[in-house]
């Protein structure tokens, strides 16, 4: 594939986003090649499209989306209304049986986290030294450009993490997954602050957890700071703790830093890497517990640490460097040959806080309604028939994950496990307050 030179054309003052190719809204036009990723409700595939094009397809079972599908509608709309080189846009979206197919550009190296970790492992096996800081700063700078665009459009992303920052083979970086993004401005009405409790605990800003004053776009800056640590260390600071504990640590402790990591992990690939003072400062700036003290995207981009990359020539050099040193040594995701799934280690704090799904109902078999005109209706006429193996696999996947949910541990259990006696009282107080604030609502993630 040719190098993407469309950066400038795609800029925010682009006159039109019309492309010559219209992606057909028809599943039979696409050949699913391999799995790129798998979430609780969705699978992402690498796919071949007409005219020898490639794309990624997120297949999401709408039956697992609760309430009125508004969230998924807003997610797809947010993608459709974005036109920025650092945002994953949407080629097309259509409904196929109970699934939504969402077509996006293929980011062949997968998430930035996956890609850096693979590169570190490969370099270690070659006995070469992995110096990732330069690449991380490049990824962070690109991410900020995308995030700035999101904020300018009156949105909060709400789930910024390295797993949602994707890398293409040529070094392009794009923010993905508007799954939980919220609108501060909608239909002309002004919402001062969002109040929904969503996200993934390790990346959540304290004010999002506290649920007291609401939060605004500065919550993304916190998540961005955590993402920086995650890229440096391979996982988010509190990823080893259960979600409730993560909430407590985030609210009560000083903001995490590189020092929050205990470097005794058996395969902590990053633990021997040294990071500069400027990198530490960047993290520190973003991880202010008071949102007002966190910088904006604009301030970060024009600040001392990252502003040197605003020069297009420098940016181009950095892109080339990450392409040759990282992208080129890491295999593509979802290609026929690579069976590897993203190496995102499942740690307790990585689990999204999610809604408890309604379970599948066991239906009495073979009930047929009788109508006076003699017509009989079997519900089986509506049962989707798996046409090929792929769809069968999808069904299987749906069954396996259907009704999956993460239940937070009870307060007692948590206190028992935490093994920290002197904060026991604080813990209890926090739990009480927490339960009041959430008023027994299920944690949700669409």
């Amino acid at each position: 594939m040719a190098e993407k030179e469309g950066m400038d054309k795609e800029s925010t003052i682009a006159v039109s986003n019309s492309s010559a190719f219209e992606w057909p809204p028809d599943p039979s036009c696409y050949e699913l090649i391999g799995k790129i990723g798998q979430g609780a409700f969705a699978t992402v595939w690498r796919a071949n499209a007409p005219e020898e094009r490639e794309c990624a397809i997120k297949v999401l079972n709408l039956d697992h989306v609760d309430t009125n599908l508004a969230e998924i509608r807003l997610e797809v709309q947010a993608m459709r209304l974005s036109l920025h080189p650092n945002i994953l846009t949407c080629y097309a979206a259509f409904v196929n049986e109970t699934n939504l197919w969402l077509l996006t550009p293929l980011m062949s190296k997968g998430s930035s986290l996956h890609c850096l970790q693979r590169a570190r492992r490969i370099l270690r096996d070659r006995n070469e030294v992995a110096k990732m800081e330069e690449h991380i700063l490049y990824i962070l700078h690109e991410t900020l450009l995308g995030l700035q665009y999101i904020h300018e459009n009156g949105q909060i992303h709400r789930d910024i993490k390295a797993g949602n920052v994707l890398l293409d083979g040529n070094g392009d970086v794009r923010i993905a997954d508007f799954g939980v993004s919220g609108w501060l401005v909608q239909g002309g009405a002004q919402q001062e602050k969002a109040k929904t409790f969503v996200g993934t605990p390790c990346w959540m800003a304290p004010e999002v957890m506290e649920q007291v004053h609401g939060y605004d776009y500065k919550a993304d800056i916190w998540s961005f700071g955590i993402t920086a640590l995650e890229l440096a260390k391979g996982y988010a600071p509190y990823a080893k703790y259960p979600p409730m504990k993560v909430l407590i640590l985030t609210i009560q402790e000083d903001p995490p830093s590189l020092e929050s990591y205990i470097d005794d992990d058996d395969d902590d690939l990053a633990c021997f890497e040294e990071y500069s003072r400027t990198f530490r400062t960047l993290v520190q700036l973003c991880l202010h517990k008071n949102p007002a003290k966190r910088p904006t995207c604009q301030e970060l981009l024009n600040g001392k640490i990252l502003s040197f990359m605003n020069d297009p020539a420098v940016r181009q050099i950095k892109r080339e460097t990450i392409r040759s040193q990282v992208c080129d040594i890491v295999p593509d995701v979802g290609s026929r040959s690579s069976s590897s799934s993203p190496s995102n280690r499942q740690m307790p704090g990585n689990a999204p806080i999610s809604i408890v799904l309604s379970k599948e109902v066991d239906r009495p078999p073979g009930t047929t309604w009788v109508f006076p005109d003699g017509s009989q209706v079997l519900s089986s006429s509506m049962t989707p028939v798996s046409v090929d193996d792929v769809l069968e696999e999808l069904d299987e996947f749906g069954k396996q994950t259907g009704g999956e949910h993460y239940r937070s541990k009870s307060a007692e259990e948590l206190a028992k496990n935490s093994g920290v006696d002197n904060v026991q009282d604080d813990l209890d107080a926090f739990m009480d307050e927490f339960e009041q604030n959430t008023a027994g609502e299920d944690f949700r993630r669409p």
């Binding site: 986003n17 508004a70 300018e152 009405a189 309604w369």
Partner: protein, 404 residues
Amino acid sequence: MSIEGPFEWLAGGLFFGKQQKGGIESIDSCGDALVLLKGIAHSLQEILAQPENNSESPESPAILLAARLRRLRFLLYDERRVPKETIRWGNHSPTVVENTLQGLLGHEMNDLIPTLLEHLVVLPFESRKDVAAIFNYLLVSGLDGTDAEIYRPHMIRFRDHVEQHFPRVISAILAGHDPAVHDQKDVCLHYGSMYRACLRHPVLYHRMVGTTESVRSYVFPFLDTFVHLPNFEVASDAMETLREVMTAGQGSNRDPAIQQELAEIAATFLARDYDEIWNQRFTTNLLSESANYMTRRVALQILSTVLLTRSNYSIMIEFVASKTNLILIMKLLRDTSPHITLDAFHVFKVFVANPNKPAEVLQILRDNQVKLATYLTSLHQEKEETDTQFRDEKALIIATIQAL
């Protein structure tokens, strides 16, 4: 320059910090809405005169227009950022809104809003968002928020302006949804949001559904075409619009007086054009097996909201007196999707609870008495633990069926 507060992101990178050249720089620092509007009108004329000019020079009409629209949008939204204390002491008068309206309502630029709407598709990508944001802001700014009262008189003036140009505005919105007119999916979404902003005003809502003719022209395109478009984002947006048309945007207006007025308008047109809406379109096209999963699921929600709204009593009575409708709902009750079966239950219960069931409805229920009782018992058992209302309703419906 630094700005603090929740609206900072709207200021964003386009206007501060970055030093830009020539015309755009002066636009960046322009604080006068009237000057910006004149510039917008001028650039728009230039674009329309030379639609093929794709120049990327910083002085090209498209780029100047984009900068001016973004700046105006920022000024409007930023104005609302004033501290609450200022409002309380009565020192606040929204001069940006005033100046904007003075320009738009004046003789010189009276045409600007309809013209912008008619040519949204030739505007730069970001400018389309800005036009929709400005239009929607001016149209609903006096409805929501603690400071809504300050903006209400201005909003009313803008609403009257939209009404004055209603035929052009609504034609632009409907044409903008039509895939035969253009292939820009994002534009449909902007038009959808503007249509829904109009629906929040009884006067404009009435223009859309006040007569059978207007319903045919302004609502049926959604029912007949737009909700069936293959692209999810466009079809789901059209479904959302349809939901707000048919349910009078239930829950979106905080003012109960306005909400009631809207509900009455809804009840009137849903009953007046009952056959064309429900029999010829809604049940046959949206709830049938030919419609896709998303359409059926949302349509069923709309149906149950409409039927269970008090002001729609006559519509409910007519709906549950129909044998065909009962058969349809019983099919949906057996769907494979738990979401659809749950919503189907909330419609089905009205058929059962109806004290004056027609003979043919009664006959069907009697013929399936045992099966229905068995089936309903097993339906969504998991919900009974948490949802006591559902549990009680289900028990009552089963008992009623058994006693038939």
